[in-house]
Amino acid sequence: MKPELTVLTPQDAPKPAQDEKQSPAQTEMPFAIVDGEPVTTLPQDLYIPPYALQVFLEAFEGPLDLLLYLIRRQNIDILNIPIAEITKQYVQYIELMNELQLELAGEYLLMAAMLAEIKSRMLLPRPPVEEDDEDDPRAELIRRLQEYERFKKAADDISELPRLERDVFVATAEAPERKHVTKLPDVSMKELLMAFHDVLQRAEMFSKLHLQREPLSVRQRMDEILARINARKFTGFADLFDPEEGRMGVAVTFIAILELLREAVIEVVQSVQYAPLHVRAASSVRLVSEEDE
């Protein structure tokens, strides 16, 4: 009878036992239920029942991890493991996976191909002279396994460090009348200018937009004019000018009005020919004055 096999996703995993600290090496939660029994550790030998293979494969972090497992679970001094033997076992696993029509990740196949190549090379007579280091795939495989195992070990080491929320608890005391104050960030003129510089540069680089370098006084004056007029009633055109400012000031005001007209923010109206000009906000523009906000 084929045993019932359930592969657990992290969401429906049962609350694990307190044994995490004792067996942190392999996995932190049961990764499968075989015949109703949660499986939390990998078997100590290589005889994994075929029906459980899929779940064990899911417990591996990839082909390197599987290969490492096979090598380490030999329970033999690593010195005595012929790489050909390991290769054979690995390929057996891959074949088994194929028979069971398990979805095979490309990485596993790639590894199988690499091992097969190593195996075939070892069957060939040794070349009399030193091989080119670069060409020896065994060296590369061992380098990768070694590197991977170092970090696999490091991952275990980190997972065993005392952890906040699990091993370490912060001691706190309540402060009754604490007031929350959020300070606003400070901004310097420098930051503002750098940002502006930046955006101008981008605008010039990436678009046809050419920002006019007009005197700010015009913008300032546009602002002032907007503050003085509104949409409901007309403001005398002449009232917008302050003769005391002199020729320059008057000119700036005039340019500001033209600019506002151009941007259709204001309208200039005249009841009859030669009557005084009046200004108001364009009917479609609603001005909000700073004071009545």
Binding site: P176, L192, F196, H197, L200, E204, V285, L287
Partner: protein, 222 residues
């Protein structure tokens, strides 16, 4: 378990819990065998409070149990702890503010056009909340977008009497003179390749090194 053990165990429990624990809960924390009487627990808490006489903490009894708290006299002196560190404004925020300052009245769409990327609602809200910009009107185009301008508060913050006092645009092309004018710190020489690669927009905090990125540009920005 002697009195001292009970006392310090209760102390640790209340400090670790970070919430009030009632007498049943406190009692339940002890192993069955060594579980003290409730009266012993109350006595231990009283003893602890005596010991805290000189200290800044106290165990007070509130509706849901006993709670470890900082004495209010102490809490007053600790206000600084809860002053949240000001968030940092993003580069996008500075650019938006600068465009509003120099190009007002300006709509969000116009800002986006110049910046080449969209302006988040959040940025506009930040600026409005800070009362550095205000809506000065609405443009007569579909959607009637708001036009933004700066406020007196903005001028005050940057110690400007009027918008005119903002450094003129033209000067921005000459960063060096601007630096001198604003008395900005000298920029160090740095390798061309470091800065742009490591700190792309948005993912970094504007740091001192950003000046460097900018410092190189004047020649390119005619």
């Amino acid at each position: 378990m002697d009195d001292k053990d009970i006392k310090y165990f209760l102390e640790a429990a209340l400090l670790a819990a970070g919430r009030p624990l009632n007498i049943d809960q406190l009692q339940g924390l002890f192993d069955g065998r060594m579980e003290p009487e409730k009266a012993d627990i109350r006595k231990a808490i009283a003893t602890l409070n005596d010991e805290y006489e000189e200290r800044g903490i106290v165990i007070s009894e509130v509706a849901s149990g006993f709670r470890m708290q900082v004495k209010s006299a102490m809490a007053d002196r600790l206000q600084k702890l809860w002053e949240e560190r000001p968030p940092r404004y993003s580069r996008a925020m500075f650019e938006t503010l600068a465009l509003i300052a120099y190009r007002q009245p300006i709509t969000r769409g116009e800002i986006e056009e110049i910046r080449g990327v969209s302006v988040s609602t959040n940025i506009v809200r930040q600026l409005l909340e800070r009362e550095w910009v205000r809506v000065v009107g609405h443009r007569d185009v579909p959607g009637r977008p708001a036009m933004f301008g700066t406020t007196k508060g903005f001028l005050d913050y940057f110690s400007l009497k009027k918008l005119d006092d903002l450094p003129p645009l033209a000067d921005l092309s000459d960063w060096e003179s601007l630096r001198v004018q604003l008395d900005l710190p000298e920029v160090e020489e740095q390798d061309e390749n470091d800065v742009p690669v490591l700190f792309p927009e948005g993912e970094h905090e504007p740091a001192a090194d950003e000046e460097l990125a900018v410092a190189k540009w004047p020649d390119t920005v005619g």
